[in-house]
Symmetry: C4
Subunit: 233 residues, 4 copies
């Protein structure tokens, strides 16, 4: 069942240690088959170097395990909310990658300070509000998804244009057009967080790039008029 | 004598360079056989790449060498105090890992700033008071253990819930349910120290997570109602 | 056509991941044949581990592709401006290397704070002014070259003496006497940016070295009286 | 001639890239045969991965090349001053290792902030005064040695107790009982600089350890009453 997607999700999970985004088992990647409405996700608390494609767990959009011998990631309810609400995305990553997590712990969003950011994220990477006692008490992992979605709605951000978020006091989630693209965005997020941390120490004021430059770089790589890479030849 | 524990302690010691926690010989791991009341510990000043299980030194709870040709770690009296006073622990690690040591040198405790911390440490990681002239003068390494224990009593911290401490002007100790678990906690401590250092530079105020979120994350992984990983299936 | 230069440009491009200057495809190196007036440059958006010498693209100084099946780097117009205006240089590198980019994002030039800097760069490494709406709107990549050239003219800097620049809100460019020398300067720039960032945190005032020391170190390695290395024996 | 010392100096030089202390050729190690009054030193500007023992250059204490086809390191006159003035040392290292160089560029000495420091350096690691126009103009490399020696005399520091110095606006020198011991001290200096940099950011005040703790740790490893390691058994 969904063997190709399982393999893809396995490989995307193995990219996390390769790119230095995780310590131990602190991260998970999922992918979705939109037609079947089924999610493939990493099992909870399993070491990366022992995982096989057949360990991947299949769950439906109600969180019911459809196939698999292992518990799915404890963050599965967060993934489900995001797949339901962000209807174009087909892969999700959660890590505690250190630079992005440093911003999340500080409750500080990542300003769009340069073209590296603008090539991938069309605006600041938002941090959610802190979760309330009530949100923590019941269905915590689902509520984590809800607070992400509320942040994007309130700040009027298109999740396809800014495929990353910082959950306050916690860590980042990223997403993308498939599981590996979501990991790619995680790598970029970490690099951008690292550079912008240092830019903020050098110059705490006036760090954001102009809207013109942001438009230029994002649209150079995305949308109908993109001309970066080999695609448009 | 205690061959399995020696092998376990050797392997735990070899994890220190693997995870980048030590330079040269700056670190040691021990384990205890609670029934026999015997500790197995790394010899003093020996290179990691030359150590064998048979080099591990067996000492009793009075610090007497029971077996072994080499001097035990000079920090052995500190380990002994901790094993005596923290009755559930079965492994101890001492390193000068750079991020945790930066906090220790600064005399600053590590606030519980996010869920990475809360998954492992149920509250701030305390820093001891500075050692006095008298404590340094006599039985210094034993007194190092005493100042750790006094810190946990004074701040009313359960060492099973916060398996790490920063010795002021010195470096961290961690412990755990066995030697490798203690090393695991050392790796997490270093990662948490790194991230929280950067969070504090981004936002020096109001960095601590809520007690509700701390409860949620710690208890998600520890105690009767834990549901993280594969254990509860 | 230009097979030797293609090989040289390929090897110079492969130095970028080797020295940790790039993530994914974020960087490009070119070289020029001054007699023929032809530039060899990396293709746009191609992975380093898949590139062959035959993938390198040959363009003329009007930006016309003379040979090659792939699109040249989208930064090609910037390279062309620099080759035209800085008449001695024969290799150019663009990366988003993290330390130099942190200064570029902050809009802060890198002061000549020590002899490591003075051995390679005869004065501060300048940051350009921010690009205007008009510069971004039309021929953006060419205008990026123009703003670099204007910066060197306005600050009266000889590009042979300071073979690096920070484009504001963007990232560095470096150049040199050939493609590998330009990469060498990129590596030095990154190391200098890292060290001077930390020096500025330790001591934000009075960080610049004396003109005498700068003269001494730069001229120890460059020009008629150089005596560093084996060349003068 | 001095074949064993050449091999030792070669191996010590190769430790520099191994421990991440150098980029390109930015570093050199020498050793001395005190009886013969001859120094063996790295040639100037030669790549580490191509160096052979036979490339090492033999110079006398007047700086005259006694054996060797290559130019000796341009820093040779600095080494000579240190060997003449610090009569117990038998190995010297110069690098631009990034953390120590960050302090040197900032003109800030490294305070003895913790036991890692105290295990190796009996007090703060001094920074020299800035070199004057006159010192730079004539015999610059010899004058660099002189300014180091003056710093130790003026601050009344025993070079055997503090085997490291930061040359202002430049970078560190370390020394030791033989070439590899000098490299060992370079590695420790870099680790201590890194940690104390971060401690100073966390707590800029009152960072120095007590004299009692410094005495305890330094003397635990050095002198007649040392008890660290296996030597005293």
């Amino acid at each position: 069942m969904l063997e190709a997607l399982k393999q893809e999700v396995l490989e995307a999970n193995l990219m996390l240690p390769k790119y230095g985004l995780v310590v131990f088992t602190w991260g998970n990647v999922s992918g979705i088959d939109r037609e079947k409405g089924l999610i493939v996700i990493k099992p909870s608390g399993v070491e990366y170097d022992q995982m096989k494609a057949s360990d991947m767990v299949v769950v439906d959009l109600n969180g019911k395990v459809v196939e698999g011998d292992l518990n799915p990631s404890s963050d599965t309810p967060t993934h489900i909310v995001l797949y339901k609400e962000f209807s174009d995305i087909k892969g999700i990553v959660h890590t505690h990658s250190p630079w992005a997590t440093s911003f999340a712990q500080a409750g500080v969003s990542i300003p769009a300070a340069g073209t590296t950011h603008g090539d991938y994220f069309y605006g600041n990477i938002p941090v959610t509000s802190r979760m309330t006692k009530e949100e923590i008490a019941t269905d915590y992992e689902k509520q984590t998804g809800d607070v992400i979605v509320r942040t994007f709605r309130k700040e009027n951000i298109n999740p396809n244009d800014v495929p990353a978020v910082l959950v306050n006091d916690h860590a980042p989630f990223t997403w993308g057009t498939d599981p590996k693209n979501a990991v790619h965005n995680s790598v970029v997020l970490e690099e951008v967080a690292k550079m912008t941390y240092h830019s903020l120490q050098l110059n705490p004021h006036n760090i954001e790039m102009s809207q013109d430059l942001l438009d230029k770089h994002f649209k150079r790589k995305h949308g109908a008029n993109a001309y970066y890479g080999q695609k448009t030849k």
